[in-house]
Amino acid sequence: MSRKQTPLRPYFEKMPEIGKQLREGEVRRSQANVELVREQEEIIAQEILRVKNAGIPAEKVHSRGGMTIYDRLEYLVDEGTWSPLHSLYNPTDNEEGCTGVVNGIGKIEGKWAVIIGFDNKVMAGAWIAGQSENILMVTDMAKRLNVPLVWLTNCSGVKLMEQETVYAGRRSSGAPFYRHADLNHLGIPILNGIYGTNPAGGGYQGISPTILLAHDGANIAVGGAGIVGGMNPKGYIDEEAAQALIEGTKNFKGKVPGRVETHFDQTAYFREAHDTEQGVLDGIKDYMRMMPAYDPTVFRVAEPAEPKFSLEDLNLILPANQKRPYDAIQILARLTDNSEFMEYRPDYGREVFTGIAKIDGFPVAFIGNQQGVFPGYPDYANGEYPGVGGKHYREGLIKQGEFVTLCGRDNLPIIWLQDTTGIDVGDLAEEAELLALGQSLVYSIEQTELSMMCVVLRKGTAAAHYIMCGPQANNNNAFTLGTPLTEIYVMHGETAAAASYARRLVKEEAAGNDLAPTLEKMNQMIQDYQDKSRPAYCAKTGFVDEIVSLPELRKYIQAFTGANYQNPKSITPVHQMLLPRIIKG
């Protein structure tokens, strides 16, 4: 008789259970909190709708027999797996209301891919400001997760009226072509479905991926047919030059270069040409089935299981009032398989939790801030002040660095749950080496080859936002999520106002002057900090890669985990893992 089992079963099959059911009274008193969460969700939903409606109406595309980028994605991506990213990204406040590309992570034919396409409703997919940065974030994600990048190209090239915002510079719209070459070099395939007219930059966008599939109406070329005039020796346009331009345009009969009859029939750059838009997407699906991917069984340590508690509870547990503490383990219990968690050194560095959990049966690591007050902690304070949740102290920093290093050894992807107000400050903190230990944690992260994702549950503040694998961890952080309760700033607005104006207040008072003008400036600063730290602002500026409702967090964690284990570059045999043994002792 054959017998089969998951590896290291005594450690992973049944881990310690965490969390508890919310009591009736807890649910009752948290209803106002749910309303506050919903308010922010509504703001985000309205913004996303605005972005989706950017450019020409979808009906106009449909009336021409075409599909919008959203139609293409819906047809291409496996149902229920699409996890959009950068939906509101628009750091330079483009008049288009977006950066003209739509992207995220999802499954195609059962395999995870990073997927990006030009919004063909917005200036036929033109290069606009902020777009190249958006694309680079996405190519970096494919590189980090080692999964295919799928492009839906439909790119009219530079928005000529604003060429200075996209054309030149280190991270300009030419940089993605190098990124594509980099991905190819690393063995990460890029599948490209090509639609519409793609001249110049659009042409390189078309040619730079690994496998090219075209719609019959598509073309890719070094330059377009629209350049009918060329250089005017006068250096300006007068009536005579305008007339020549008009005649030239009227009489232009040429076809656009780089059509399917050239690049399928002649050069054979295109592997496939399809007479329908869906045909191109079917072609991508065919190629996705050929992409490298392990069966999940290879890396699973248990059968997948849902958390024991409702994800909707998260809206009740996480307080919208940023000054309120909560039980962080109650959050974790709603994210992990069967609400289980094997905690690493729970009695050391109490302000953070670290440990192993399962997501869809895969082993992963979690690190997060505890909340509340810790009397008698940290030791180095000698009782002068108590420890406060969200802050980092000596033991917690050592524990995180140690845990990250062990995760690197065991190849455990890490999910960070940030809600942090900073690292402890003052002479005692300096003597306790917190400055060096913070950077030591950064070093530990950088030393690993791990993928990590970060969720800023509420506060991402001061250097603590950096050291807990914020998006600044360029080589490890695959993506960062915010929630409807996220606030990201260097310090709270009131603290910043006090730091900026305290001396002036002293001077004004000593001089017998009216304090009102200074107070007005301070309050303006506080308001400004408030306005520029809210979830929609964080998403627009790229502080986070997406704002996600709290119950949706697990879906993104599943996407991150599944993608990470699809085709890992490095493997630790589960039965040789060290961390579970260290935890058990």
Binding site: R23, G25, R29, K323, V373, P375
Partner: protein, 70 residues
């Protein structure tokens, strides 16, 4: 007679009930302010508020009795 105890030292920021009020398990009765945080104190049994031993603005120590419930 159940007593509601301050879990940490701090200032009484808000008192959300009055003597004679009927309260239920998990109702929020007092909010302490300390270390830039609000610490809500919840009712751990149903009953009637018979005595409030503090007023808003008072400084309290850890383990001080805040409210008595019958």
């Amino acid at each position: 007679m159940p007593e509601l105890i301050a879990p940490i030292a701090g200032n009484v920021w808000k008192i959300l009930v009055a003597v004679g009020d009927k309260v239920e398990l998990d109702d929020e009765l007092v909010i302490l302010e300390a270390l830039k945080m609000e610490t809500p104190i919840y009712c751990d049994d149903a009953g009637t508020v018979t005595e409030i031993k503090v007023k808003e603005g008072d400084a309290v120590n850890e383990d001080d009795v805040l409210i008595v419930i019958d």
